[in-house]
Symmetry: C2
DNA sequence: TCTCGCCGAGTCAACGTTGTCTCAACGTTG
DNA sequence: CAACGTTGAGACAACGTTGACTCGGCGAGA
């Protein structure tokens, strides 16, 4: 490899304030003042410095700056979600990014895949980079490992689920009430045999939704039958299998409440495969794209993801602006979207 | 506010190596050695340092470390996508994150919303934070503003579209060939009147897909009729309107090639509204969730997003590992997925 | 005319870490 | 036993920037 060629494309190290200062014939500090917009600099000198900086292609080093400056802010926050590729996480990330952008703050993202060990690793990695704050959709149930970081001044807001063993802000959807609404809606259409298909009960949001399901049935004096209750995890395949099983019972349900996105989709695939999509009612928790274009449209309890994300981000920035009030949890309401599948009436003889 | 209360929750500033060293009774440099895994440290001292660090809740400051260390690496890369919330960008982000994670590298994301000014601002913001490299889905057509950064050693890979006025690596899908395949597939089902609905022609990928459309028709000696060619932009509403218009022509198309995600969805909504979903054939560019569950299923040309993202990330890291070979563009093939809508035969008298 | 205060710019040290150098202690070898 | 290499750890400076302080010059008021 020729020296010349290497020289051409090689790393001519990035110019620093020192070089800009030398070219402009001023002190380094003056360059610093110019780039920080300090008003007590002679306009002629400002122009000279700017010109020198442009000529050299100078860009300030925020890394060095944040190390030196008093507040130590990096203008960067960390965001830990379940999976950057899933629609819920993606929408959440985008709303947080929007709020951050207004303040010149960038977002570092990490996917946890429901893995508590990964949550810890990535949270540490973010802290090692001295992010100003964290927005976390926790994978584990114990965030006590963050106590010392919290005490060291790292602000954090939890989303979708509250933090465990840690006193911190959180923004959550009203899972329980959403489930109650869903089940009441099905009860209102005359259904008395309503199956529950949802994520593992160990996941807090799933537990809350299941709780709402049970509560609504209880209030309506409808028996809760364990044979049509399945905590299947969050996979379409498992949901398909579970749906086939409950539908092949001697006394199958006339309606389904599917409490998680992939479970909803799995169930509706299974109903279609069985030709039951116009017979068995279904309400899902979480909206999804094209739910309205299916036939019938899929009725869902929709979370207000934008509201959740925006609220969380604003909360975080309030903390960063010095809000020291006690930690609190904000609950964002859900809303029922009627599209057809949830309005299929119970057929056959009424059981009441 | 009482002093005591404020004291309890207030920022006790983060411990540094100095404090760990003091507590462990060693020099700062020794703490540094321990955390960098330098092998020539007495195991007893290692233990003492680790203990002191744990007691204080010490976490290394990567910001300071990257400032001081020779290579200046921050173990962070930047990723600029169209919109973190859309499925394409989200999937891309996730695959890049996966490759980065293996190397202990974190990803900063930014959404450009097809806005070239934003692209520039965000690229600068990333560079100011001294990211090791950039993965960019460019919004503008001119990336020459990055030449000086490239020369300063910031590595960059472009995705989905090549960089303009800049010599840089890129990973793109084979848009032209994908379009050719789509149109040939429709021709194969007997269609001779095939409409094109796509994004604005000023977007390079859209232009390539349109080019493929035209080329395939030309090869088949089928006339290209401007009245059934619409560059509508990327909105469902516009696609719906355009679909309604072309279908209400005296000589409407018997098949649609929709060359962008939202256009595909808009068109299929419109066909459904007109009751034509089983009559008019449709092939879309870009797969989307639930395309298989609709009736008929939607046939698409699917991009291999994982392959694109993975290739781009690996390319970037090869560059970071010192690869100085000339910049190149890697083209990833697309594939046709037959689900029904694209296999609807042309009815009525054959025109040939 | 002298002093006071202010304005504009510079000097110096420090943020938390690591590269380079130095040095003491120890074991080996001819 | 002296010369030597090796091993383990500390001293010092520096990365690029900014906070605290300093200082010269100039206009205003006594």
């Amino acid at each position: 490899m020729t020296q010349g060629e290497a020289g051409l494309r090689s790393t001519r190290s990035r110019p620093t304030m020192r070089e800009v200062a030398a070219l402009a014939g001023v002190a380094i500090k003056t360059v610093s003042r110019v780039f920080n917009g300090v008003p007590t600099v002679d306009p002629a000198i400002v122009a000279r410095v700017r010109e020198a900086a442009d000529k050299l292609g100078y860009r300030p080093n925020l890394t060095a700056s944040s190390l030196r400056r008093g507040d130590g802010r990096t203008a960067t926050i960390g965001m830990l979600v379940e999976d950057a590729a899933n629609p819920f996480s993606a929408a959440l990330t985008r709303t947080v990014e929007n709020v951050a952008r207004e303040r010149g703050v960038l977002v570092l993202v990490g996917s946890l895949d429901e893995n508590p060990a990964r949550e810890r690793e990535l949270a540490q990695a973010l802290i090692d980079r001295r992010v100003d704050g964290l927005v976390i959709v926790p994978a584990g149930r114990d965030q006590s490992y963050l106590i010392s970081e919290q005490r060291s001044g790292t602000r954090m807001v939890f989303v979708d689920r509250e933090a465990g063993l840690l006193d911190a802000d959180a923004v959550v959807s009203d899972n329980r009430q959403g489930a109650v609404t869903a089940v009441n809606h099905l009860l209102g259409a005359g259904h008395r045999r309503i199956a529950y298909l949802g994520d593992r009960a160990s996941i807090p949001t799933a537990a809350q939704r299941f709780d709402g399901y049970r509560h609504a049935l209880e209030v309506a004096h409808v028996e809760c039958d364990d044979r049509i209750i399945r905590h299947v995890g969050s996979s379409e395949e498992a949901a398909i299998a579970a749906t086939e099983q409950v539908m092949s019972l001697p006394d199958p349900p006339t309606a389904l409440f599917t409490s998680q996105n992939l479970v909803t989709i799995g169930a509706l695939r299974a109903l279609r495969a069985l030709g039951l999509q116009d017979t068995v009612a279904q309400v899902g928790f979480d909206d999804f794209p094209l739910a309205d274009i299916l036939n019938p449209g899929v009725s869902v309890i929709a979370q207000d993801i934008e509201q959740v994300g925006k609220t969380a981000a604003e909360m975080l920035f309030r903390r960063l602006d010095g809000d020291e009030s006690p930690a609190r949890t904000i609950t964002v309401p859900t809303r029922l979207i009627e599209r057809g599948s949830g309005e299929i009436p119970a057929k056959g003889p009424r059981h009441d």
